[in-house]
Structures are given as structure tokens and as C-alpha cells.
Symmetry: none
Subunit: 217 residues, 2 copies
């Protein structure tokens, strides 16, 4: 059984490694966990001893098959709870993250199954992110950061990477919600900001924001 903290580390490593595909450095983990490198090293040893990650000194960590499975279960729970909060309790999609961070650690496979059923076995959460199924399979739709699209492209917003509440509020304001069609009108050479059209409205968004909007083309 993993502790609350171990689950959070594993989830962080999963995300940083883009689903386990690359090695993750100690300092990267320290930054997202808002802790110090020394603490990370300790936890790395623990998770490594339990075979959730493989670890080579001064090199970094790679998540194992087992660790991947655990991380996906936490992510599954997180996204199911977010869906519940928005669909059933009428939360706004930009105010569910913190609560879901707590709910994702509740231990009860039965609860998660019942919740999944109650929500009608949703495939994505309110931010458009795919919900891993009970066996840890994730349906990854082809997602491209809006920032790489050139003027003229039309796409559909599938997901938003960052769950920062300020970003989500901003996207909400400009109507950049999952499911919306988005057209790139112009790209400014200097700062790579984009002029786009969403729902008939023209709006200019910065590079940082465009990197966080994932679209399907």
C-alpha cells in the first residue's frame, strides 16, 4: 500500500516523464513537489526499494511498469472526481483541482467503480483529459499544442495542460473551452503570440497560453 505522499511523488514522476517515456531529474521532482532535492533523494530510494521506479545515482529515475500502473490509478481517481464535481455538484471546471487532489487518495476500489458507473463511464474529464480505465488503459487522442499551429489551421480544443486556476479562468473568459473550434488567424513573429478565433470572437493569446491549449486537427 502506498502512502499519500508516495502516491503524489509517483504521480509527479509520471507526469514529468510524459507517461514514463523519459528519465526524470531530482531537481525537476523537487520543483513540482515544492520540496528540496535532499527530500526527493530520500523518497526516490524508498520508491526504488519498492520497485515503483528504477534509479541510478546522479542520473535520474524511470518509472517502472508497476509504478506506472499505480500512477495511472491515482490519475484515474483524480479525473473521475473532477468529472463528478463538475457534472453532479455544478462546480466550475476551474475550481475542482485542489479538491480532486485530496479525493484522489481515497482508497476504495469499490467506490471508484461505483462512481465511474454513476457518471456513465466517462472517457475524459472536464478539462478534456482522458480518464484511464480500470485496467490502466488510456485513450490518448492526437493532441497538438496550439502553439505549433500556423495561421489557417482549424482545430478543436481537446484539453488544457496546466490546471492553474488563473489560466482556467482566463480560458473560460475568452471561451476557450474543450470542444470549441479554434482557428489560427495570425502568428506574431516577435513574441509568438497568436491571433485566433473562437466561437466567432477574435482574441490574441500569448505563447505560454497557446502551449497549454491542446487541439485535435
Amino acid at each position: 500500500m502506498l502512502s499519500y505522499t508516495e502516491e503524489n511523488y509517483l504521480k509527479a514522476i509520471y507526469h514529468l516523464s510524459s507517461g514514463g517515456s523519459r528519465a526524470v531529474l531530482t531537481n525537476e521532482i523537487a520543483e513540482v513537489m515544492k520540496t528540496k532535492a535532499a527530500s526527493v533523494t530520500d523518497m526516490i530510494k524508498k520508491l526504488s526499494a519498492k520497485n515503483f521506479i528504477s534509479y541510478e545515482r546522479y542520473y535520474g529515475v524511470k518509472i517502472t511498469r508497476q509504478g506506472n500502473g499505480e500512477a495511472l490509478m491515482v490519475i484515474r481517481k483524480h479525473r473521475l472526481w473532477e468529472t463528478f464535481l463538475v457534472q453532479k455538484l455544478n462546480f466550475h471546471w476551474d475550481e475542482v483541482h485542489e479538491v480532486a487532489e485530496q479525493l484522489e487518495h481515497i482508497q476504495s476500489p469499490r467506490l471508484i467503480h461505483k462512481l465511474d458507473e454513476y457518471l456513465g463511464f466517462p472517457k475524459t474529464d472536464p478539462h478534456g483529459e482522458p480518464i484511464p480505465d480500470k485496467d490502466g488503459k488510456v485513450n490518448i487522442p492526437a493532441q497538438t499544442p496550439l502553439s505549433v499551429l500556423l495561421p489557417g489551421y482549424i482545430g478543436v480544443i481537446l484539453a488544457v495542460k496546466d490546471s492553474d486556476s488563473n489560466l482556467l479562468k482566463y480560458l473560460n473568459k475568452i471561451g476557450a473551452l474543450p470542444g470549441q473550434r479554434i482557428t489560427v488567424i495570425n502568428k506574431e513573429e516577435y513574441d509568438e503570440s497568436l491571433e485566433v478565433e473562437i466561437g466567432g470572437e477574435k482574441v490574441t493569446i500569448s505563447k505560454v497560453v497557446s502551449q497549454n491549449i491542446l487541439v485535435g486537427v
Copy 2:
């Protein structure tokens, strides 16, 4: 902010003291918390320092007004979640306790309010236990001696135990008649006398009298 463990101790003390009305012994707490007396003593010191309980060595603990409020919030959450599990997720009433023990510690007043609303502001949980409202008021089932109520409780006088004529005359004088609403304003630690409000009048009654007034809430 209370830790997960502190919340559990406080809840245990609340229950053992029947809602704060009697002092609780170290070993009683140790038993329900499935821990050792020495650990309980440590925690008692902590909760006492934070003013959630009052504590006298070798005697026992009494929950304070503040501690009572915290305990009631945890109980409120527990019972709301149990209601959710049974009403919405089709759990059986006998399989919800363990999960609710986890869910009761989720910190989000907004979540609890929304959940309460979603469930239609239920007054009792699936076991028939009353759900404290957002201000910590509990509907205690019929015929409770006034003496066990803590400051904040509001009840309706249902009956008087003793039929001693002097008592009845006294009650008549202070307006403590069946059917009257009565609010507990304060409880004196020393002699357990109660300051109450009846029909807009504040009056102080002794422990003996309060034990003879039965209220419904």
C-alpha cells in the same frame, strides 16, 4: 487547521463523552483509537494546548466549545458522505462506514455545501443518525435531558421528569413550560449550571433542574 489524526481523536472524544457532556478517560480513548495510553496522553496535550479539550492530569478530558464545533463538522461530513454513498452510489448502508471514515477528512467547505445541496439537505444519515447542520447544530432525537446539551443547542421542552411541586412552580416562574423553545447559551464548568434562553428571557438553572427538563431538538 487540524490534522487527520487530531480530527479522529476529537471525534472519538466527542462520541465517548456523549456529545461533550462527560469527562473521558485516557484508556477509553486508547481503546477506541486502537492505540496505547501513552500515545493518547501525548495527543491530549496537543489538543489541550490548542484549546480543543480541557485536561486535568489523572482525571480525564472534556471537550471545549471549540473542540465540539470541530468534532461536529467532521461528523457532519461523515454522515453526508454516507448519505451520498447510499442514496447516489447504491451502496448498502452497512458498507459505507470505512469509506466515509476517509472522506470525512476532505477539506473543502464549498464541497460539503454543494454535497449537502445535491442530497437535498438531508436531516439524518442512512443509519438514522442526525446530520449536524453547517453551524454545528444537531437534531438530537426526542426526550433528551437538557443537562447533556452544550451551548448552541436549541430544543423544545417536551416533558419534566420530576413531578415535585416545588420544581414545577419554579419552572412555571421562569417560563420553562412544555412547548417552549429553549436555547443553551452557556454551561458553567464548575457546577454544570446552564445559562439558557426561554421566550426571550435569559435565566440560569442548576444542574439538578436541567436534568429534569426533557427536550426534543
